[in-house]
């Protein structure tokens, strides 16, 4: 019963495969001035989409017509003190042709919003939630834009450059504990001769306890 096979990497792909640069050129042919001149650095091709409102359209075309079926990553950058403040970076990859393309777009701080691409790649759902959670960039049309790593109700956006590394004090939601955890605070006191092990072991023991 051959349940799995060990495939060899040589896919029967018709040669020549378009390079990333050619694929970026095809994107430019379709969208014209919306797409910037491709930049090449360390063998990677980056194009900038000048109007963030049309990013979903560009991504949809890249997926359906250019074969970029895998969204590897979605990152956000805070260009603090510059205008526009946000940059959103999409790492596109095609499993069929094995090419990589980076799309970038800029979003101003006063708007801080751009369309979601979760309709193009479902994986963008969590990536966009993370970008929203960490930077506070809103993805319009996202099915469920909630915080993902921080908790619901957290008031800050920790990856912004104006958020200090040491963090800011916040109120934790009070659902977890109704009293301090046994090992929270101090001083830790061991009671010799307690009636059971819970009474003997080192715990936070305040004078009134």
């Amino acid at each position: 019963m051959a349940r799995f096979s060990t495939a060899t990497p040589e896919r029967s792909r018709p040669l020549p495969v378009p390079t990333s640069l050619e694929l970026a050129g095809q994107l430019r042919e379709k969208f014209g001035d919306l797409i910037s001149e491709p930049l090449e650095f360390r063998g990677e091709v980056t194009v900038t989409v000048s109007d963030a409102e049309r990013i979903a359209e560009v991504c949809g075309h890249a997926k359906t017509a250019l074969g970029f079926d895998l969204l590897l990553d979605l990152s956000s950058i805070d260009n603090y003190g510059e205008d526009p403040r946000w940059t959103v970076v999409y790492e596109l990859s095609g499993i069929g042709h094995g090419r990589h393309l980076r799309l970038k777009t800029h979003v101003g701080e006063e708007r801080s919003q751009l369309p979601t691409v979760s309709g193009v790649w479902r994986t963008a759902d969590w990536h966009e939630r993370e970008a929203y959670d960490m930077m506070g960039i809103v993805f319009a049309g996202h099915p469920d834009l909630r915080r993902i790593l921080m908790w619901e109700g957290y008031p800050y956006f920790p990856l912004r450059k104006d958020f200090p590394l040491a963090g800011k004090p916040t109120v934790l939601p009070d659902t977890a504990f109704t009293q301090p955890a046994p090992l929270e605070g101090g001083p830790f006191v061991t009671l010799p001769g307690g009636k059971d092990s819970a009474a003997r072991e080192p715990r936070v023991r305040t004078p009134e306890a």
Partner: protein, 430 residues
């Protein structure tokens, strides 16, 4: 003794009765039992979540109708931390991403920074072979744990004990290589902290001979085990299109039949010179993902053997092959040179205080790690620290598919599906 007559109606009798009483379907009396849906909280501290994953599950009887994963309980802000330190200082933080394969994380991170600096092609061959050996040892270690814990979660405890015996040997190898069992921090930008110690290559060979026996034993316990097969087969089926759409990578993607492996698709280090196969599944269920991992470990053994045979300088580096880039501005110079030569002293001072100097630019580098593609997107504005470092954590992306996979399964299948996904929350939450 009082006797009692218990009337048992089989389905045919129930159907006959239903026909007599006028068309009511035989299940009608059961419909009253359907009440509200039950919301069950699983985790964040649950044995099968292997860390702190919380899933809010909505149940209709025993069937899941909705699943909402809740991640972030282990969030430490690694990306924020990275912006505030030099490139080499971040290496220990990569140990703590996928803490089951720290060596592979070290290598992936070092390669990302080296790509940014444009020195990834200048790495000495011995360094490249050694790094591949590290990656594959980490893969075996991570898969051994993944399989052991997977089997244990669905009731086969023995496998766990078998695989942990071998993992212990890998930890011993890590210890003699790096000085630490878990927090290896082995790579530096432009090379390694040190070459492998004398006798290490022979120890790895001995380990490989032993571990293949263990693979066979573990496989005997699982692959044709009726209980294991029943719990995993056709459970958590992910189609090829769905897997790509949700961005799955690693064994979870290949289990669905997509032969995408970064080591083949975008070869780094010396992978293009090595001979190995990429196992792919055909159905995309938990059983396929198990089979793929099992075969990947055997392929890793094959890769390591080739690397050890070809490693330049020989096992104990009799040929004095370098393991670091020959650039004093990137790699710390030898201590005796620092104490005697002005130029090396300055380099040492600059690297330690300001970090290696990276050019402005941006790169994405993805490496095939045990859990999937671990990617680093580095945006540099020049200098010794990244302006932005984004970690593409495979576990994070892989878990994003849970809301689509879990509904329709039984509650007990959750454990099987989570086990077959083989995620690590340290990496997911960063």
């Amino acid at each position: 003794m009082a006797s009692q007559t218990i009337e048992f109606k089989d389905s045919a009798a129930r159907a006959a009765q239903a026909a007599q009483t006028g068309g009511a379907s035989p299940g009608d009396d059961l419909l009253d039992l359907h009440g509200d849906k039950l919301v069950l909280n699983m985790g964040p501290s649950h044995p099968s979540t292997h860390g702190v994953l919380r899933i809010v599950i909505e149940l209709d009887g025993e069937t899941i109708t909705k699943a909402t994963p809740d991640v972030g309980y282990l969030h430490r802000g690694d990306e924020k931390i990275a912006e505030n330190m030099t490139y080499n200082q971040f290496v220990p933080y990569t140990d703590r991403l996928d803490y089951l394969a720290p060596l592979a994380n070290n290598v992936a991170y070092a390669l990302a920074v080296e790509k940014l600096m444009g020195i990834d092609t200048q790495l000495p061959p011995r360094c490249q072979y050694l790094r591949v050996v590290c990656c594959e040892l980490a893969r075996i270690s991570a898969h051994l744990l993944g399989l052991g814990a997977f089997a244990m979660d669905i009731g086969a405890l023995t496998v766990f004990l078998h695989t942990f015996t071998e993992r212990e040997k890998i930890y011993n190898l890590c210890e003699s290589l790096t000085g630490a069992r878990l927090t290896t921090s082995y790579t530096r930008i432009g090379g390694m902290t040190r070459d492998c110690p004398p006798g290490w290559v022979a120890a790895v060979r001995k380990f490989l001979d032993e571990v293949v026996v263990n693979f066979d034993e573990s496989e005997t316990l699982l692959t044709r085990n009726r209980i294991f097969v029943d719990r995993t087969r056709d459970v958590g089926v992910i189609s090829r299109e769905m897997a790509i759409d949700y961005g799955l990578t690693g064994p979870n993607l290949r289990g669905s039949g997509v032969d995408y492996d970064v080591r083949k698709a975008h070869p780094y280090l010396v992978y293009k010179d090595l001979d190995f196969d990429i196992p792919v599944g055909s159905v995309g269920d938990s059983y396929d993902r198990y089979l793929v991992r099992m075969e990947e470990m055997r392929q890793s053994v094959r890769i390591i053997r080739q690397c050890l045979d070809r490693m330049p300088g020989g096992p104990d580096n009799a040929g004095k092959e370098p393991v670091n880039v020959a650039d004093g501005k990137v790699v710390l110079p030898p201590k005796n040179k620092v104490l005697t030569s002005m130029e090396e002293l300055i380099h040492q001072f600059m690297i330690v205080t300001q970090g290696v100097n990276a050019p402005p630019g941006e790169v994405y580098f993805g490496a095939e790690n045990p859990k999937g593609e671990l990617g680093f997107y580095i945006n540099s504005r020049g200098g010794g620290t990244p302006y932005r470092l984004k970690i593409r954590a495979p576990s994070f992306v892989n878990l994003g598919i849970l809301p689509a996979v879990l509904p329709g399964h039984l509650m007990s299948d959750v454990v099987s599906i989570l086990g077959s996904f083989d995620f690590v929350m340290g990496e997911c939450d960063r």
